[in-house]
Amino acid sequence: MRELAEVRLMQGNEACVQAALDAGVRFFGGYPITPSTEIAEGMAEKLPALGGKFIQMEDEIASIASIIGASLAGVKSMTATSGPGFSLMQENLGYACMTEVPCVIVNVQRGGPSTGRPTAPAQGDVMQARWGTHGDHPAIVLSPWSAQETYTLTVKAVNLSERFRTPVILLMDEVVAHLREGVRMPDPRQLKLIERPRPQGGRENYRPFGGALDEVPAVADFGMGYRCNVTGLVHDDVGHPSGSPQVTNDLIRRLSGKVEAHRDEIIDYELTQTGDADMVIFAYGSTARTSLRALKLARAQGLKVGMIRPTTLWPFPEKAIEEVAERGIPILVPEMNLGQLVLEVERIAKGRSLVQPLSRVDGELFNPDEILEAVKELKPVKSRKSSKKEGI
């Protein structure tokens, strides 16, 4: 265990490992895949000295299964992968949602679909991270833009998964994963860590899947004597399979409800010079790094550009868009995909702001100039009232 605050030069992937260990992750099951492999390698090296366990599984389906199993035994668990592996994980990701098992899945995005561009940055998995597994389900997805933020968001991911008893996805991209920069790490003893709610009372009143719409029920570790049934079938509050419409409705609504009701606790975004802005860039991950550069160039040219940088992609930071859309300011959404999160921005803007996507899918980063050019082409929409009339 580290014992002091320190600053170290490290890659995003290395920062992820250190943060996970500091946050109490003691089980990692994974399968090698570029550009995430350094996370598995770091875990294999560092976990055992802490009494933790590392296992290289036979594939990614088994990897996520193993971490769900370990978490059921009460151990904070994590896996890391990239697109192809993330696709394989989808069924069991839904299982973790349904059975309310805390765990963290890191997806270092690569260019897709399929094997795509293993070493090229991309942001094409944003919608998959939200909707990849079948059925209605909650999703918490965080996306860092630097090695430093990889550290803080990894800790946050572990905490949120415990807090809400749900899988949390850390969506990185290849640039953030491999970029080497200084990372300031706090004394791990000063970190605020969250443990899943565990039952206090006796076995008779144990309801690991019960509670109100916004409630996260307490759960016992296997071996604690609560003898619970865990199933991916629709189940009642004690875990028995159920075909009741009422039970089904209550469960499916609560699974999402427990996350939705606490959006404010989960969602985080950073605003840069949005106060006086008359146009805004909405960007995340390494695209936000280039966007910040473009913002500075624009400001130097006297253009009042601001930036919204969400670190929580799901639940979507609706308030951040709401504030800008109310003012009718145009929003540029650069993404290394053909336009994914921009659809959410449009949904919230409801036509009050012009929402302009900017895509790159060639496996290369944006350059600041192309974002600057796109910003310059933005034209503010007419006032809110007139745009409403147009709609009639």
């Binding site: 003691r26 089980f27 099951g29 090296e45 055992p48 000295a49 009494g51 366990k53 296992i55 599984m57 036979e58 594939d59 389906i61 088994a62 990897s63 299964a65 193993s66 971490i67 769900i68 199993g69 370990a70 978490s71 059921l72 035994a73 009460g74 151990v75 668990s77 069924e91 069991n92 299982y95 570790d221 296997f222 071996g223 604690m224 004597g225 609560y226 003898r227 619970c228 049934n229 865990v230 199933t231 991916g232 079938l233 028995h240 399979p241």
Partner: protein, 272 residues
């Protein structure tokens, strides 16, 4: 037999969902008897299952139980066992669950020799989905997806497990109750990966289509076609076409995975 197996069940979940005459209940009962004899502290027992008729078995038992996803019970169990090696972990799977969709996990759990006890409910068919063939459906037998007869070669799951590194492998049938119970007990006590194939009968999705109309016909078939391995080894019996051996089929010693990992922990801590 004076103890009540019901002591091991979540009685509020019974009667179970299985069809009249389905062999799964018989295996489940034999398993409960084995647990009684093993006498483990009950809160240290975990039962993991996949998806299928057979995998519903876990939910009826009064332990920590996990009904996972189709084919994936073993990697879930691997995580549980490695995270807390004190737990006694049993894994219940169907023949399709363990050998088709979960075949890769089966060979790797066996290769690692992780201390899990896998019980395969082999009814030679996909029961839950209504009678499609599985990798354990014998050649020429009929299934809804092999209406003209099975043309693929079938697995011998015991030999598969043995070849992959399992350190304890046995087979019994629902007719050979006492053997089945004993194999489960011995398999649980084997420090490593144990696989017990329980040959069972699915009257609904297999028997009807293959000339065995009633459950008792199917049990009779088991009785007539199971050949004790001891007799074969002693040269007193031979295995004819379509027959299969029962008994303790294989056993060897090898390092167990979670124990080996303890050594890794020591090395990483510089204690060795």
């Amino acid at each position: 037999m004076s103890f009540d197996v019901m002591d091991y069940f979540r009685q509020e979940t019974l009667p179970h969902i299985w069809c009249p005459g389905c062999g799964n209940g018989i295996i489940l009962r034999d398993f409960a008897v084995a647990l009684e004899r093993l006498n483990y502290p009950r809160d240290e027992v975990v039962i993991v299952s996949g998806i299928g008729c057979s995998s519903r078995a876990a939910g009826y038992l009064n332990f920590d139980t996990v009904h996972t996803t189709h084919g994936r019970a073993l990697p879930f169990a691997t995580g549980i066992k490695l995270a807390n090696p004190n737990l006694k972990v049993f894994v219940i799977m169907g023949d399709g669950d363990s050998s088709a969709i979960g075949g890769n996990h089966l060979i790797h759990a066996a290769r690692r020799n992780i201390d899990l006890t896998a019980i395969i409910f082999n009814n030679n068919i996909y029961g839950m989905t209504g009678g499609q063939f599985s990798p354990l459906t014998p050649r020429d037998k009929k299934a809804t997806t092999a209406p003209y007869g099975m043309i693929e070669q079938s697995f011998d799951i015991c030999r598969l497990a043995e070849g992959a590194g399992a350190t304890y492998v046995g087979r019994a049938t629902t007719y050979h109750n006492q053997l089945l119970t004993q194999l489960i007990i011995d398999g649980a006590q084997n420090p490593g990966f144990s696989l017990i194939e329980a040959v069972t009968h699915c009257p609904t999705s297999y028997g009807r289509r293959n000339g065995m109309a009633s459950p008792s016909d199917m049990v009779r078939w088991q009785k007539d076609n199971a050949v004790w391995i001891d007799k074969v080894r002693a040269g007193k019996a031979e295995v004819k076409d379509g027959q299969f051996t029962i008994g303790l089929l294989h056993r060897h010693e090898a390092p167990e995975f979670t124990q080996a990992y303890m050594e890794v922990i020591k090395r990483a801590r510089g204690q060795e």
